[in-house]
């Protein structure tokens, strides 16, 4: 027998083939939220097309290093929530709590870096009234940061609930998968925002 084969039943194969993470209704919120951010992306590209020089000048004042660091922090957080869900599926609650803790810590680091970036702009006299680039920049990244806060709260609730209810196949996973999915949404939105805002 190959070392890759196992006599244990495959947990993925045991689940219904068309299972949706969390619950199907939750995806109304996910897709709706993505639709709202799509409007933001459209607003950004329309604004940039109307005044490319102003957007290029604005982009040059951004701290790209912080943007890259924040992208990596969120990607690491997404990897952590994947590990948390995987740990729960094998009933390793301790590892799940640790992974959730890492993702929440990643969210906190993201917010601190964002605050440092905002403070830098304000110190140089640049605020949301310094033109369309900065209005869109502060508002879109600000609304995204608000999502990060909401995501951290969701992850915190999910982490607190890890030990509650039955274990094994009967483990309640709706909240866990919803929190993890929402964190991925936050990550995906940031990747698009980062590309549009910092890289152009």
């Amino acid at each position: 027998m190959s070392s890759l084969t196992t006599t244990e039943p495959d947990p993925v194969a045991e689940r219904p083939a068309r299972r949706v993470p969390a619950e199907p209704e939750f995806w109304i919120l996910v897709l709706g939220d993505l639709a709202l951010f799509t409007v933001f992306f459209f607003v950004w590209t329309t604004g940039e097309r109307a005044d490319p020089a102003h957007f290029a000048d604005g982009r040059a004042t951004l701290a790209r290093g912080i943007g890259i660091a924040n992208t990596l922090v969120l990607l690491a957080g997404s990897a952590a929530v994947v590990r948390a869900i995987a740990a729960l599926r094998r009933d390793d609650e301790r590892a799940a709590r640790a992974a959730y803790g890492l993702a929440i810590l990643g969210g906190a680091v993201f917010l601190v870096l964002k605050a440092v970036e905002y403070a830098g702009h304000l110190r140089h006299g640049v605020d949301a009234l310094a033109g369309p680039f900065y209005i869109d920049y502060f508002v879109f990244t600000g609304v995204h940061a608000l999502h990060v806060v909401l995501g951290m709260v969701l992850l915190g609730v999910a982490r607190a609930r890890v030990g509650r209810g039955p274990a094994g196949a009967a483990r309640p996973m709706v909240l866990q998968e919803a929190a993890a999915t929402y964190w991925h949404v936050i990550d995906i939105v940031w990747i698009v925002l980062f590309t549009l805002i910092y890289l152009g």
């Binding site: 109304i28 919120l29 709706g32 607003v43 209005i135």
Partner: protein
């Protein structure tokens, strides 16, 4: 407790009546779709109120009268919340408070429009100030009304599974949370006179307008089945 069937059914449909009455004022009579631009000069704003003096006054009255339509809807939302949480708890009390502030907000939006339109020949800056007040309070008044959707979302997604009283399907809870998320950037109308976040912009006006109109127009089709479940429960008791 035995519920009044007629008043509950009236409540289920009154959101529709509210949007029709308010829409008669805002859309049909005032043509505020899109709204008067916040960047418009005082003279331009005053000219609009002078030219459409009567239409804008009657529109303002329609908006103020629409407040009454919120009464049965608000009462029903409180009753359903109380049913879900098995008694008058914090959720029901908060629902009552935010319904009350929403009614105040609706009335004073109309009143501000009426003051702007009431006397022709008034100083343009004064007309513009009341026009600002009307749009800012209605578009930006989220702290007064948004909790309705937040509380509904909580009641459906968190409280219903706890108490076992299923009045609404879970998708209604998620849509309610989505409305809250869609309205979050609305406070920015207090800061910007131009661009997407101003009260006539994509984010400041069109997204919330679509969410609000869609939700209220569809509300009877969700509320009426919930009422039917409560009344069926009364019959069993």
């Amino acid at each position: 407790m035995v519920h009044d069937k007629f008043l509950m059914r009236l409540g289920a449909w009154s959101g529709f009546a509210y949007i029709a009455m308010f829409g008669l004022g805002w859309l049909v009579l005032a043509h505020f779709m899109p709204p008067i631009a916040p960047s418009a000069s005082a003279a331009a704003v005053a000219a609009r109120y002078t030219e459409h003096h009567w239409a804008l006054m009657v529109a303002a009255v329609a908006m103020m009268v629409s407040t009454v339509m919120l009464l049965p809807l608000g009462a029903l939302l409180m009753q359903l919340t109380a049913k879900i949480e098995r008694g008058v708890g914090a959720l029901t009390l908060m629902m009552g408070l935010t319904v009350a502030t929403t009614m105040v907000l609706t009335f004073y939006t109309g009143l501000s429009f009426d003051v702007a339109a009431f006397r022709t020949g008034r100083s343009a800056e004064i007309v513009q100030a009341f026009d600002d007040a009307a749009f800012l309070q209605f578009m930006g008044g989220t702290p007064m009304f948004l909790a309705i959707w937040g509380l509904l979302g909580y009641a459906i997604l968190v409280t219903q599974p706890r108490t076992g009283i299923q009045l609404f399907p879970r998708w209604v809870g998620y849509v309610s949370v989505l409305v809250v998320v869609g309205f979050l950037p609305e406070v920015l109308v207090f800061l910007f006179q131009t661009g997407p976040f101003a009260w006539n912009g994509a984010v400041g006006f069109w997204i919330p307008a679509v969410l609000l109109i869609g939700y209220l127009a569809a509300s009877p089709f969700v509320l009426a089945p919930a009422v039917a479940r409560v009344l069926a429960d009364d019959d069993r008791a």
